[in-house]
């Protein structure tokens, strides 16, 4: 996105909006990650304690999810153009 046509006040405003959105996106990504990994890793409810196998699965799942998101983000940035014909 290109905000170069914005004046200084508008650019300052957009920086604050983007900063706030990044925090919201991060929190949303985090709770999405926990839900997704919990769904995949935890299937035994005969105990309330996380087994060591479940814990390892959660940690691997979280690590992999972050690396997945980063890789998608890198490819996304390369492609850059989103929804051609809609956004332009």
């Amino acid at each position: 996105m290109d905000f170069s046509q914005f004046n200084a006040a508008e650019q300052a405003h957009m920086s604050r909006v983007i900063e706030k959105k990044q925090m919201q996106d991060f929190l949303r990504m985090y709770s999405n990650l926990v839900e997704r990994c919990f769904t995949s890793c935890c299937n035994d409810f005969t105990s309330k304690a996380l087994s060591s196998k479940e814990e390892q699965c959660m940690l691997n799942c979280a690590d992999k999810f972050l690396k997945h998101s980063e890789r998608v983000g890198a490819r996304f940035a390369e492609q850059n153009a989103v929804g051609p014909g809609l956004s332009s």
Partner: protein, 97 residues
């Protein structure tokens, strides 16, 4: 007085927008986690036959364990993310995080 204004030293009696915004963000986060918890444990514990309107004994016990396990799992992931983000940027986003 913009809705995005951030006066950080408001006199007492005035509303500090930054403080309000952070509190609202925390509320949103708690609500989001709660809704996902309800959904995850419903999927894990509730039979979809719906032969009765009450929770069965088995479902009730499963819910309690599911919530406890979800909290523990959430805690482990939180600790992991903190150690990751201490070493660099956390995750990838479209806004260049």
């Amino acid at each position: 007085m913009s809705m995005f204004g951030r006066g950080s030293s408001a006199p007492s009696g005035a509303v500090n927008n930054e403080r309000i915004e952070m509190a609202v963000q925390e509320l949103d986060m708690v609500t989001d986690v709660f809704n996902r918890l309800v959904s995850a444990c419903h999927n894990k514990c509730i039979s979809t036959r719906y032969a009765e309107g009450d929770l069965t004994k088995g479902e009730s016990v499963c819910i309690d364990r599911c919530v406890a396990k979800f909290f523990e799992a959430n805690k482990k992931v939180g600790e992991r993310l903190q150690s990751v983000s201490a070493n660099g940027a956390p995750g990838g986003g479209p806004l260049g995080m």
